[in-house]
Amino acid sequence: MTGIDHRLALERLLASDHAAPNPIDDIEALLKAHHPDYREGSLVSLAVGANRGSECPTALAASLQSNARIEDADLAGAPVVDTEVLIIGGGGAGCAAALTAAEAGGRVILATKLRIGDSNTVMAEGGIQAAVGEDDSIQRHFEDTLRAGHGCADRRLVACLASSAPDSIRWLIDRGMRFDLAEGGAIGGKLLRKKPGGATRARILSFKDYTGLEMMRVLREAVELDERIRLWNRCPLVELLSDEAGHCVGAVLYDLALHRFVLVRASCVILATGGVGRLHLNDFPTSNHYGATADGLVLAYRIGAALRELDSFQYHPTGIAWPSFRLGGLISEAARSAGAHLLNGLGERFVDELAARDVVSAAILRECAEGRGIEREGMVGVFLDIPELERRQPGTLAQRLISLGHLARQCGIDPSREPMMVRPTLHYQNGGVVIDENGTTSVPGLYCTGELSGGIHGRNRMMGNALQEIITFGRRAGLHAARSASRHPAPKVGLFHLQGWRRQLVAAGMPLDRFGPDLFPRYANFDFGDELALRGGKRTTYAPKRARRVE
């Protein structure tokens, strides 16, 4: 891909009149031609599992249809721990579930792959939706969300989201999370509200532009100080445990510090492992944290849970396109909400900056594909014109776009003088595991909550609804699990579901040596097989055994 030379583009930008963009006549055609979700050929059909026959991106299909790395022999001698509720994932959804389950009296373990808080949650900048404005209503929140999702969302879930949202904000405040005010003081003031792209009212509440950081540090502290929650860092989930009926009855974790497996027998398992960005679907850069490798999604699918909209991902329009070391980093929608324009290498605006995200993304990709992008040191993108915004609305940068300023400085740019270069980045998994209002799945004993679950955003998520989802549904899953958990672990736990899974893989002619979940991005230089081989002790892999059987 090539574009217009950066220096030339800068001159044209200065000469630009910033005239309003021409409206796009055929949005469908634009999406089909330029958006990876709609483009032909980037999807394959799943051959096994509950969603056999559904389409999903090739790289994700490979993970979803991977073989388990472990079998019974690996687990011999591993310590066994019992709990009522086991929560996997230390982002916002996992923490909300853990705190609520513990408050409801459940015995809780929270296990996470990196450290608690190392998550997509901590990175969220823009804010969280809740209809609190006088001109707004939970009905509007409901309808805006459904419409943004192209009418594909589960109405019950969306209604639950919109009607619980104000209470979830109260819950966060009670745990010590702050929000910005538009007027007045801490008592009696009015919350600052920003308008998300595609909404009919201003509904995004925020703290500066690091809302996720404020949320995560509060939740992390709450979990760490809660003596009822056992917190295990660096203990990724590597497989779920099943009983003979195929119910989920616990999980196999791998303790990265002690190099050993741990079996947790649990009456309820809540997966809150977040998104998939680090699979780099369609070779896109990503805004996601390092642990976003779809582990929970893969394991939920393997044990039998149904997924939905797994061909729908959100490409955030404004990822960093230059410099390379920050490629994919997110410039929050706050910049566009505040009024920043997007311009191509000819100095023209080419899309309504506040149109739905997939439309803005597709439009940027079109500019780049058709040679109107801007090229700098081999990287291609379009301009996000902050200097012009700052001239129009002096002080915006300092007051509303603090982390953008930080990001620009990281990139070696003075944002008040030089435009940022942006292109879409893989940002969010719209679909995921099918859940009900309490986060239960089609597999008894298994709950899912947060980004890995589906149904709330349909085929397109509005800004601010993900942070709302993780709190509302994290709490609901935690409460429901704590209430329905039994004190007694299932008598027979094992890897019963794997037999059927492997049979399916063989029958469909799928490779048995593609193991999953990935746990870490491919460039982490980590191989779980090597890790197991190196740690000594007895080790049998599935592949050699199969070879023996073939003999």
């Binding site: 209809a131 929000f179 009015k190 990281q410």
Partner: protein, 214 residues
Amino acid sequence: MQTSQVRITVNGCVIDTEPTRSILEAMIDAGETLIDGVGCMGQGVCGSCRVLVRRQGESEVLSALACETRACEGLQVAFLDHLPMHRHHVYAMDDWNGDSWRILERINATFPEAQHCRHCGGCDSACPKHLQVHKGVMLAAAGDLSAAECFDECIMCDLCTIACPELISPNHLGLYVRRLSTAIGFRPADLVLRLHQIERGEMVIDQDVASTQP
């Protein structure tokens, strides 16, 4: 375009890389296994990638974040593990309830070391976000809740906690003040009203609404 190479040392390994790369990227490029000490991978908000660095020709060792720090010739880097830490400042969210005139008493009881600050500035120089950590400690220890604002941008990397010779845990003190002052005293009127409307059943959702057009 030919980019120049620089040589850095990470945990004793010599790595050749380009000056546009962060320390984390340089490690990955060099084939090092990277499965901890990383989270947000560049945004600088999770506080996982803590390192000590020394630049060529300088004698001072500084703390930094490996995802934000670019490689430069002769840079020496050592990662800091997150050692499991016993949390000695334990409190409940209702710590200030009952008698909020006694907030200072509670601060002193929960973070007693804050009274012994040596004003050494160790926390300030350890902070990768250049926050006014010491000022925040001083304010909190004097019962001034505006201490909270000193920690607005704190990423909870715990570098100030490691640096503090009095074991004050400045960032946790800051968060304590933030959390409790919010929980006890943040009551936006619009939210209060909306919760009231929903709880009284005055605002409900009609799920069957046919049109979702604006």
